[in-house]
């Protein structure tokens, strides 16, 4: 490694100037300029399709640019292959790792560069010794003879980094490196990145996770629609600034103002575990006016979680806190008394009674206020139902229409309406628009937004990606009984959700 790089001079050593790239008629990059300084962590950000990956693939020799030039140490270079890039010290670690399963750790690190002895035979002894040294350098307690297929994703990623370093990398490009890492592994990676910086090696960090960027980046360059959108120095890197540059408008702020949170209302799950995943503790929190989405695959434990909040099942562990006060919720009755209501997943068998009419369904959990001395007042319950039915625009011939004669959307409105006369604190919707037509869907979203505006906490479980992205202020993704990711609006993409959902 040459001395001038280690010296930490702020001047860039890589400049990409006026880079353009077209795939057929599609212009992926249009006159993009970036520079990479020695020993810095440069975050490269943008929405999906903004051109981040394309730009880095050009730098690492995978794509050839249609226009522009790349200077390295002030010298114009033509990077026309991965090998050329590697010789220049530019290494890209792909999002999908490129290790060979059938080789051991050492074989992967030195793939294509195996040390050779006499007769061009691989000097295995030297290869394993060198590999062991590198592994030790990173504090990895892995034998160089270990087969890669036995390593965790995080360990494989570290092997990729080691491999890059063993090639005398000057800049390591990491494309979404933490998408498959646990929190602990992410911290380990961040430690290694600090170590790289200290050695004067630059890291280009591509990520959707803005909180990671704010944590480790020295500088951020944002791309939008294949063009430069802006650049932020370390002190200016924050969530709002990043989102503004990525989306190009202040959508997050504007909506946040419209959301009007009421932090005096809050719901917290503290170390809650469900009967299905008794070993997994779940913590979450939401505040008044917030719509929190829970996404994940079928069987991830979402319904079990929200059913536990509503007292359908007793929690296997942990407790709930509502507006700062601890709550023991063991039955739906407990939940209802606390103002926690659920519009359940299976409408026809849990949400409504199809052979009862609109009035009887709507007032079933509310007979207390609609009766005196235990005797139901038909007048009161008819009035209460008429009010809710009007508010929710339930379309039916009359209030004595049986639920089985209503459309799915109107049935769902009744299932929601059951709770509205009781001023909910937390309203949980499990698959709120399953089997509901588009018109009613929009109405149900409007109901949910309207409730949130009134300060109600809304928790939405949905397998419908579009729905969860559309309605949520924040999304938690569950995988095998755990919360595997949390997404803010700027990161709401189906890919992001899916990645967390499959536990990558």
């Amino acid at each position: 490694m040459s001395a001038d790089i280690v010296s930490g001079t702020p001047g860039p050593f890589i400049r990409m100037k006026g880079i353009s790239k077209a795939f057929g008629a599609f212009r992926a990059l249009d006159d993009v300029n970036i520079d990479i300084r020695p020993g810095e962590v440069l975050a490269l950000l943008g929405e999906n399709g903004a051109g981040k990956s394309t730009l880095m693939k050009i730098l690492s020799g995978i794509h050839i640019p249609t226009g522009g030039e790349i200077d390295i140490d002030g010298v114009k270079q033509t990077i026309d292959s991965v090998k050329t890039a590697q010789q220049l010290g530019i290494i890209l670690i792909h999002q999908e790792l490129n290790l060979l399963d059938n080789l051991d750790v050492a074989g992967n690190i030195f793939l294509g560069r195996e040390p050779t002895g006499r007769f061009k035979l691989v000097d295995k002894q030297k290869m394993y010794a060198d590999a062991a040294e590198l592994l030790k350098l990173f504090g990895l307690k892995i034998s160089p003879q270990t087969s890669v297929s036995k390593l965790s994703i995080a360990e494989q990623q570290l092997i990729e980094i080691i491999k890059a370093l063993s090639q005398n990398a000057r800049v390591i490009i990491m494309d979404e490196p933490t998408s498959s890492l646990t929190l602990k592994e992410t911290e380990l990676l961040f430690g290694i990145i600090s170590g790289l910086k200290a050695k004067g090696i630059s890291v280009v960090y591509i990520s959707h996770r803005l909180n990671e960027v704010t944590q480790i980046a020295d500088r951020a360059i944002v791309l939008k629609d294949g063009k430069n959108s802006g650049e932020l120095a370390r002190e200016d890197i924050n969530h709002d600034n990043l989102v503004k540059l990525m989306i190009g408008r202040d959508i997050f702020k504007a909506e946040q103002e419209g959301w009007a949170y009421k932090p005096e209302y809050s719901f917290e799950a503290i170390d809650i575990s469900t009967y299905r995943y008794p070993g997994n503790k779940i913590n979450l929190r939401l505040v008044g006016g917030e719509i929190l989405g829970i996404s994940g695959l079928v069987g991830a434990g979402r319904t079990e979680l929200v059913n536990t909040f509503f007292g359908i099942h007793k929690p296997a562990g942990g407790y709930l806190r509502l507006n700062g006060a601890d709550k023991r919720i063991n039955t739906p009755d407990d939940a209802i008394a606390s103002g926690i209501f659920l519009v359940p997943e299976d409408r026809r068998s849990q949400g409504i009674i199809v052979s009862m009419d609109i009035v009887q369904n709507t007032t079933l959990p509310n007979l207390g206020p609609n009766s005196s001395g235990g005797i139901i007042s038909n007048k009161k319950e008819n009035e209460a139902t008429a009010k809710v039915a009007k508010e929710l625009n339930v379309r039916a011939p009359g209030l004595t229409t049986l639920l089985k004669n209503l459309s799915g959307g109107n049935q769902q409105k009744v299932a929601i309406g059951k709770w509205l006369s009781r001023s909910p604190s937390l309203l949980i919707f499990d698959e709120p628009t399953r089997g509901v037509d588009i018109g009613a869907k929009a109405e149900i979203y409007a109901i949910m937004r309207n409730l949130a505006k009134q300060g109600v906490m809304i928790l939405v479980v949905s397998s419908d990606m579009e729905e969860i992205i559309n309605i949520s202020h924040r999304i938690l993704v569950m995988h095998e009984g755990k919360i595997s990711g949390e997404l803010m609006p700027a990161d709401f993409t189906e890919e992001n959700i899916m990645r967390h959902a499959v536990g990558l």
């Binding site: 739906p332 009755d333 209802i336 009674i353 199809v354 052979s355």
Partner: protein, 315 residues
Amino acid sequence: MKKERGIFIIFVVLCVLVSIGNPNFLGAANLKNTTRLIGIFGIFSIGSGIVIIGRGIDLAVGSVFSLVGVILSMLLVTHHVAWPLAILAVIALSLLIGWFQGTLIAKYKIQAFIVTLCGLLFYRGIARFISNDVTMGFGDGEGFAGVQYLAAGNLLGVPVPFLLMILIAVIAGIFLHRSVYGRYIFAIGRNEEAAFFSGINTNRMVLLTYVISGLLTGISGILLAFYTNAIAPSSHGNFYELYGIAAAVLGGCSLKGGEGSIAGIIIGAAMLQVIQNLVNLLGIPSSLNFAVMGIVILIGVLADKFFMGRQTTTK
């Protein structure tokens, strides 16, 4: 009341036909006896019906009659216990039986059919055992004539059990059709899961239906014991649970739960007694008693389904 109209018309037609066949049907003695039996059978049928509306079943009723009768006789005749205490003890026993069966069904989720079938066998066996399988009675009623009046007496010419039934039916009607708990029982009968998701303590409500059935069975059991005045432990009350179930079904209850009314159950119970009476009055061999009853119940349910348009088969 629309639902009960059909069964009521059938009931009236049946009464007219019987009185045409034998004018004695409308005679004072026959009417008194029939209404007395309607009272006794009507009271426990209300209990059976409430259980059925909550999507359950109570098969133990007949055996409880035997046990209640035997114990009542033993307390009053053998041990000379004061009748109010004896009555209280027997009522407490029938409540306990209802609570026990209801707990097994509601809390431990054992099928009602199984629990009450075991009850049917168990209580009968206990009744026969403690009585040494000897027929028991109340002799001349010395010391408890007052309570016998409840079963055998008349008030203003109307048999007391019939008046008791009317009183209980009014209370049960308000409970089932006007009160919050009645609504819960209907909701549970139609969709227990949705009722649970609406915050109803479904276990407690199901338990309550069996306790009510136990209580009303106990009351009927006391009346029946005094009415027959001879309790043969092995046969007393045999098949009576089926009278309760048949009355409920005739009266519009669905065995799938969530359907029925107190008025319907009363009409159903009355109809069964008129059919019994019809067998006697029209000179039909009494061995055909059950066959006639089976046919009439079937015709009643079919007529109800096809002519009145009630959906007895839907959920």
